[in-house]
């Protein structure tokens, strides 16, 4: 199945990818493509936009309409694309630094508008491409090349942020829970509005090594042991949930969608004529 997916949706001549051995991004990307495949969209209907960073090299490997933008600005470019051509299914692939630090403002405003864009954050908790500096999601106390004595910044909960800002679909999964990514991305794309999926990745090269997390297998095991599905979490008490994080569909609501609302304005003038 996997190789069929690769043949169908990947730009074969662009492979192999640049990600390090043990990186979780490849697994996540495969799940994203699987979601698109299962939904049955044609390649021409999909537009994939990214910013800068490890995750953001993903569009180059995919045979859709693809755009690799400036650092942090993927959502702003994507907003222009979606507004100009609402027929395109616009998917933003971004990283934790890209969407939560330099692009934090664009994230909250894209969510606030509830524009029909699906954002998937490949969260590896570190700046990988520039060599291991701490990011807005690096857990407090952990190390990065720019936090040699431990990071004192409080880390962001991106899903809470997206929800508070107005996203109408929010979900989280991990590179270990690949099937769940596919499900969440499918639901996110089908949600008419701003959808946000956090895919927790692993970076053994920088985050793992710097913080003595062991090899890629150990890091994947950490995801397996510490992620709790929202449904299962309901049966657990506070003590049992300590130190764990939730995965699954975290939030969903129905709100007016931005490009629809703008089209109403345009249509009101067409009636007038």
């Amino acid at each position: 199945m996997s190789s069929e997916l690769v043949k169908k949706y990947f730009r074969y001549n662009r492979l192999p990818h640049i990600w390090c051995p043990g990186c979780g991004h490849g697994i996540i990307l495969r799940s994203v493509v699987e979601a698109i495949d299962e939904l049955g969209y044609s390649k021409d209907e999909i537009c994939i936009v990214s910013g800068i960073g490890c995750s953001s090299r993903a569009p180059g490997y995919l045979d859709f309409n693809t755009l690799h933008t400036t650092h942090g600005r993927a959502l702003a470019f994507a907003t222009g694309i979606k507004m100009a051509n609402p027929n395109l299914k616009v998917i933003v692939i971004t990283g934790d630094g890209d969407c939560a630090a330099i692009g934090g403002n664009h994230l909250i405003h894209a969510a606030r508008r509830n524009i029909d864009i699906t954002t998937i954050v490949f969260n590896n908790n570190i700046y990988g491409m520039t060599g291991g500096q701490y990011s807005p999601t690096t857990p407090q106390g952990e190390k990065g090349t720019t936090a040699p004595y431990g990071n004192i910044d409080k880390n962001f909960n991106l899903c809470e942020l997206a929800k508070a800002a107005g996203a109408t679909y929010v979900g989280r999964s991990t590179a270990y829970h690949a099937k769940l990514i596919t499900k969440l991305v499918k639901d996110a794309i089908q949600n008419k509005g701003f959808s946000f999926v956090e895919a927790v990745s692993v970076c053994p090269t920088y985050y793992g090594r710097k913080n003595k997390k062991g090899n890629a297998v150990n890091m994947m095991k950490f995801l397996k042991d510490n992620a709790v599905n929202v449904k299962a979490a309901k049966l657990l008490d506070e003590e049992q949930l300590k130190g764990k994080f939730l995965i699954g569909e975290l939030y969903k609501s129905i709100e007016p969608e931005y490009t629809d609302e703008y089209n109403k304005i345009i249509n009101s003038f067409q009636k007038e004529r």
């Binding site: 180059g60 400036t70 702003a76 994507a78 907003t79 222009g80 694309i81 395109l88 403002n105 345009i266």
Partner: protein, 377 residues
């Protein structure tokens, strides 16, 4: 559209011109003295089926117009000095990715937040060198409300034709001045659209420049040609490359596509230069004061004329070189402490005397002041 005579502000004429040229997407963030361009766009675009969006900041606005342009929409943003600074990174992106778009910069006093409501011409160098790296740019600078209309159309046409971001460099005086203008009819307005690819989807190379103009044909997202766009150095297929050969080839082509088409791009006005011994070089609202000063000086028997760059980038170097061989002195008058004068010096200092006359206090340069300068010479 029938011919309409209207009393109109420069900023409004800019929006009218943009819509006439086919602008159907505007993204912006309000900033004085450009704000009316966003306001008029918000009002007018949905009426013609176009779209307006007020983004969260200037950076996002620039990004959004690039995104919209990639779907085939003619797109514009408008700003002033501080916002123009913020847009620079993405202006560079539009240059390297060859995405047509128009950026209006209504200049105000700077640096930083400077003088928000006062005129200045301090962004001439920023228009050319604001973004990092070697890159092409076209910048146009009108001197009247009617010319603002015409040059906005021209800005879109050049942008589409050469796949390059075009800067429309206004100053606060032209932007807020009201003049009676006759809006040309639809038939009178030349509208140029980007070159579209032909042939097999499989063979499409988004950055292959087959023609003499060095401009590749451009597909839109969603119409079947699936292609990749990046701000990284890329080859003809659009995919990134670290090859020194490819890097050099791309950057040189980007520069050359403007160089080889200079004749088509460069516009200028000459006024009373035939027998002139002194030439004034001035642009935007300053050129209007210069014209009055020249008329007064001519009445006194002083042989002085005006060279007004309309295309401020690229520079009309051949014409300025010729001019400098005919006159004894060139006075460059601008609302800054000497920016365009560097270009004039570069081209002409071997041939004639060059004087820089500038002002940065947020007030216009008056005809009398220019006249005094002429008399001094």
């Amino acid at each position: 559209m029938e011919k309409k005579v209207k009393l109109m502000q420069g900023n409004e004429a800019c929006v009218e011109g943009a819509i006439a040229a086919g602008m159907r997407f505007f993204a912006g963030y309000p900033i004085t003295p450009s704000t009316e361009i966003a306001e008029f766009s918000a009002q007018k675009l949905p009426r013609v089926g176009g779209k307006f969006i007020q983004m969260e900041d200037e950076i996002a606005s620039m990004a959004a117009i690039i995104g919209a342009s990639l779907t085939g929409m003619k797109s514009m943003t408008a700003t002033s000095g501080p916002g123009f600074s913020l847009k620079q990174e993405n202006i560079g992106y539009a240059s390297i990715a060859e995405v047509p778009c128009v950026i209006v910069n209504v200049q105000r006093g700077g640096p930083s937040t400077g003088l928000p409501t006062s005129p200045a011409q301090g962004d001439v160098m920023q228009a050319k060198w604001g973004t990092h790296g070697d890159h092409p740019i076209i910048a146009l600078t009108p001197s009247s409300v009617r010319e603002t209309f015409d040059l906005t159309v021209k800005a879109f046409n050049l942008s589409e034709k050469y796949r390059v971001p075009v800067v429309l460099l206004l100053d606060e005086v032209i932007a807020h001045m009201r003049e009676k203008i006759e809006i040309p009819s639809k038939e009178e307005i030349e509208v140029i659209n980007r070159k579209k690819p032909e042939g097999d989807i499989e063979d499409y190379k988004p950055y292959e420049a087959k023609d003499e103009d060095l401009v590749p044909a451009m597909a839109s997202y969603g119409e079947g040609y699936r292609f990749h766009v990046t701000g990284l150095i890329h080859d003809e297929t659009g995919f990134p490359s670290n090859s020194p050969l490819i890097a050099e080839k791309l950057i040189r082509r980007l520069i050359d596509k403007i160089e080889v088409n200079k004749e088509d791009i460069i516009l200028f006005e000459e006024y009373n230069l035939e027998d002139a011994e002194i030439a004034i070089v001035a642009y935007g609202s300053t050129a209007r004061s210069a014209k009055s000063a020249i008329d007064m000086a001519r009445d006194m028997g002083i042989k002085v004329g005006l060279f007004r760059p309309v295309t401020i980038w690229p520079v009309a170097d051949k014409v300025i070189d010729e001019l400098s061989k005919k006159v004894k002195t060139i006075i460059v008058v601008e609302m800054n402490l000497g920016q365009y004068v560097y270009e004039i010096e570069r081209i002409a200092s071997k041939n004639c005397n060059i004087i820089s006359y500038g002002r940065v206090n947020g007030e216009l340069i008056t005809p009398d002041e220019i006249l005094d300068k002429i008399k001094e010479v």
